[in-house]
């Protein structure tokens, strides 16, 4: 792993980062079209509004937000593609948008919907080009490629033309291409986008294992909460360019959804269960009840006791993470002090 920063220094350090895009705007219709020839109208769009966070070495952090929240813009600034309007950031001790060689050799940005490989040649040949561009020593290249081939089961894919690969196969070789130079920081933007369930699981396992083996720091955006739950203990939530939450995923659930979900299956039809908690759904013999977290054990015991033989099954669980995240987006304001 790259050791360009002191051991205890954050690998990613972002302070008051802000990005404003200037976009052209015009009304619909012929008259407006002619007017736009003479005078252009511009509007400023605030994509990222002064966010601050840092990520320590080896962390896997989920970067969450609805479409247009500013996630990808942030990742593009952190990978040096975009210049910010204001604010500061360092990644591996470098200012990303200066695009210094050591910085570019130390990080990767993988976008689920974008290809970085040459379509008309086999992936193995693109890999050799990348080996030289990143100046990867031969022994290290072989070791890394063997490891990635094993983790991603690349064997049969390496010598096929890239344009002949399926989406899932292509994502696997894209991952390998992005990681051949053993980057210390990986920005993953929707890495499982469009993949089937099995391939999503495979990519998730790969990211987790890669993080463990290499100690790389990973910042991941995904609309699939399964990705986040499987990989990230910490999440950063952003909405309308503003950072709403930065802390443990488990704490987020506790703070935004201070209840547990009790699901009961009865042998007969469901009666009035409102004395046990808030009945959020009820359907023939199935019911879901929300109860305050602190009282979950007591209410469950009461349900078992009072329903007796009527009760066929009962389960107690946290609300789904999608529901929790929706509540954060809906709040549209920062959640107290960030914890990271």
């Amino acid at each position: 792993m790259y050791a360009l920063t002191p051991m205890d220094a954050p690998v990613v350090d972002v302070r008051a980062l802000r990005k404003v895009y200037r976009v052209t705007e015009r009304e619909t219709g012929l008259a407006a079209t002619f007017r736009s020839f003479v005078r252009r109208r511009y509007r400023e769009v605030l994509a990222v509004d002064g966010i601050t966070f840092h990520i320590d070495p080896g962390e896997v952090v989920g970067f969450l937000g609805p479409n247009g929240a500013g996630k990808t813009t942030t990742l593009k600034m952190l990978s040096g593609l975009l210049h910010p309007t204001s604010g500061e950031a360092t990644v591996l001790g470098h200012v990303p948008w200066r695009r210094e060689g050591d910085f570019l050799r130390g990080m990767t940005l993988l976008m689920g919907n974008r290809s970085q490989l040459v379509w008309d040649i086999p992936a193995a040949d693109s890999f050799l080009v990348l080996k030289e561009i990143y100046a990867v020593p031969a022994a290290q290249y072989k070791r890394t490629l063997d490891e990635l081939t094993e983790l991603l089961d690349l064997g049969p894919l390496l010598h096929k033309l890239v344009r002949g690969l399926s989406l899932g196969e292509r994502m696997k070789v894209e991952f390998a291409a992005g990681l051949l130079h053993s980057p210390g920081v990986a920005f993953l933007d929707e890495p499982t986008l469009g993949l089937d369930i099995s391939m999503q699981g495979r990519i998730r396992r790969f990211v987790a294992e890669y993080n463990q083996r290499s100690g790389a720091t990973i910042l991941l955006t995904s609309h699939y909460m399964d990705d986040v739950v499987a990989l990230c203990r910490r999440v950063i939530v952003i909405h309308h360019g503003v950072l709403l939450y930065d802390g443990a995923l488990a704490d987020l659930a506790e703070r935004m959804a201070p209840y547990k979900r009790i699901s009961v299956t009865l042998r007969g039809s469901v009666g009035d269960l409102s004395t046990f908690g808030e009945v959020v759904s009820s359907n023939e013999n199935l019911a879901t009840i929300h109860v305050p977290r602190a009282q979950a054990a007591e209410r469950t015991a009461r349900l078992v006791r009072e329903l007796g033989d009527q009760l066929a099954d009962i389960s107690v669980e946290d609300p789904p993470i999608e529901e929790v995240i929706d509540k954060v987006f809906a709040s549209e304001r920062p959640l107290a002090e960030t914890t990271a």
Binding site: Y21, K76, S79, G80, L81, L82, H83, W97, R99, G101, L104, R105, T108, L109, M111, R114, S115, Q116, V118, D120, I121, D125, S126, L128, V129, L130, K131, E132, I133, Y134
Partner: protein, 264 residues
């Protein structure tokens, strides 16, 4: 850097090998225009008793064949390619790597020229025999042609990159490219050898970079310049190349600040 270039060359040859017919067709397209002008000037020359402004029919043929070869060796399509890459989001992956995107174009450009050069020479040979070309140069014309064509190719390539950077601001640069091509058509010696142009147009031609890409190397190859003038032309080419490199570095740095990485 040599190792990078070697590997890029291998990859690019593999990619190019899949589009052989397309490469040949592009090469043939590039021949059509000079051949049309050659035919026209031959007709004019014949009608005027075998010579126009000191150019015999054979001189015209030599000039336009030289212009075809020079045009082939100096062509650069990177500004068209660059706009496409930006719009398709294909520039960003290149910007993420520790290698300037310009190097990929250098290799792509070289491969196309090298792989289509032999067929081009065969076509030129047929034209030369058809029009009974007589080469009137000295050995030093050929010696002068080598640095001249290298400078011309580099100049054409760098101007292409300067234009390409306009994409950062304008998003679509087809019109800029078209304007440049039309200007080059008039002032680069494609319509006629520069010495046959009206005096005012000659002044403009020698003040713009386009003639240093096409007409001047073609005149050198044809053996149509004195040694002193040839050396002066090389200096002119070097000055334009230097200016284009400075302009590119400035425009690239400023352009990257504007880059919005759309679609990527």
């Amino acid at each position: 850097m040599i190792r990078i270039y070697r590997q890029l060359l291998v990859a690019q040859i593999q990619a190019a090998a899949q589009y052989r017919i397309q490469a040949l067709l592009w090469m043939l397209f590039s021949i059509i225009r000079p051949v049309i002008f050659l035919a026209a000037w031959t007709a004019v020359s014949t009608a005027q008793g075998g010579s126009v402004g000191g150019y015999t029919t054979s001189d015209f043929a030599a000039y336009y064949i030289a212009l075809t070869i020079v045009g082939h060796l100096t062509t650069a399509w990177n500004s068209f390619e660059f706009e496409f890459e930006v719009r398709q989001g294909r520039l960003s992956p290149k910007l993420l790597r520790p290698l300037h995107p310009l190097h990929y174009s250098v290799v792509e450009n070289l491969i196309w020229k090298v792989t289509t050069f032999l067929p081009l020479m065969l076509v030129c040979l047929v034209i030369a025999l058809t029009f009974q070309v007589r080469w009137s140069g000295e050995w030093w014309h050929l010696a002068l042609f080598v640095p001249s064509i290298v400078l011309a190719a580099a100049l054409s390539f760098m101007i292409g990159w300067v234009v390409a950077t306009a994409t950062f601001w304008l998003q679509r640069i087809n019109t800029v490219n078209t304007l440049l091509q039309r200007t080059s058509f008039i002032f680069a010696g494609q319509i006629a050898p520069l010495s046959l142009m009206p005096a005012a147009l000659q002044v403009i031609s020698y003040s713009l970079p386009f003639a240093y890409i096409l007409a001047i190397p073609a005149e050198i190859l044809r053996g149509g310049v004195t040694l002193e003038r040839g050396l002066l032309y090389l200096v002119g080419q070097a000055v334009w190349l230097g200016l284009s490199i400075v302009a590119f570095r400035f425009a690239w740095r400023a352009g990257l600040r504007e880059y919005s990485a759309v679609g990527a």
